[in-house]
């Protein structure tokens, strides 16, 4: 190695990065963001599922009430028919 190469080795010697460099990397590894996004996505899925379940149960209840109303109407109708038959005899 001649003098220029020695000077280059000296000039280009590795330097320490700014203070806290490693901590900044270890503090916000990419997985950290991915995990945060996954947690947010999971929360959205849970809320959406709960909402869907609630609406589904509401639908079931509405269906039950409609069926009850139909049965009551059918009962009343058959009762009226029986009375009409009685009167017309």
């Amino acid at each position: 190695m001649d003098w220029l190469e020695l000077e280059l080795k000296r000039a280009l010697a590795p330097r320490d990065p700014p203070p806290g460099f490693a901590d900044r990397i270890l503090g916000r590894k990419p997985g950290f963001h991915a995990r945060r996004w996954m947690a947010a996505a999971a929360a959205v899925i849970v809320i959406a599922s709960a909402g869907y379940g609630y609406r589904w149960r509401q639908g079931l209840e509405a269906k039950r009430q409609v069926m009850l109303a139909v049965r009551i109407v059918a009962l009343k109708t058959s009762h009226i028919q029986a009375q009409v038959k009685e009167l017309t005899r």
Binding site: W3, E7, A11, L12, A13, P14, R15, F21, I25
Partner: protein
């Protein structure tokens, strides 16, 4: 299963890899880009990329090779993306008031600035050769270019640097 165990083992070593190679990665980027803030950003991205690719890392030595290779690529990409030359042009490099002496900090700074004005590939070749003390064959493997090209870049860069230094009264002593 074995692969998973190995990945977990290296996963645990990520902080150690960061601490061991942070100076190398940061210095490669800084000497190439001649901008501390940009070099820090590039170095951080390189380590994030390492973290994403830990499964493909076979050993700490392989990690060093991988880090040098990716840092070189990222630094070159960043330089191309920004399409900017070093903030201080060659003509603006200060002339020394007196002839440089051994281990002169002014000579060191002048050399770093002159290296930063070299074209992309020769610049990276010089940095890998003198910062990392790599042989031309190792540089060729990292940059995926022929060994003869590495040697030619080194020769031409050295003679260019010699010429520029001589013009500034900082030639051979």
């Amino acid at each position: 299963m074995i692969g998973l165990e190995r990945a977990e083992q290296i996963e645990c070593d990520f902080p150690e890899l960061v601490r061991r190679y942070q100076a190398m990665v940061f210095s490669l980027a800084w000497h190439f880009l001649h901008d501390r803030a940009v070099a820090e950003e590039v170095a951080q991205e390189v380590f994030f990329s390492l973290h994403r690719n830990l499964g493909s890392i076979r050993s700490p030595a392989h990690a060093a090779f991988w880090l040098r290779k990716v840092t070189a690529q990222r630094a070159i990409d960043e330089d191309r993306r920004r399409r900017r030359r070093p903030q201080v042009a060659l003509a603006d490099v200060p002339e020394p008031a007196a002839k440089a002496s051994a281990a002169d900090p002014l000579l060191g700074e002048t050399l770093r600035r002159l290296v930063a004005t070299l074209a992309e590939v020769p610049r990276m070749v010089v940095i890998l050769r003198y910062q990392e003390d790599l042989e031309p064959s190792e540089i060729a493997e990292l940059l995926e270019i022929p060994v003869a090209t590495v040697k030619s870049h080194l020769q031409r860069s050295l003679s260019l640097l010699r010429e520029k230094l001589a013009r500034r009264g900082m030639g051979e002593r």
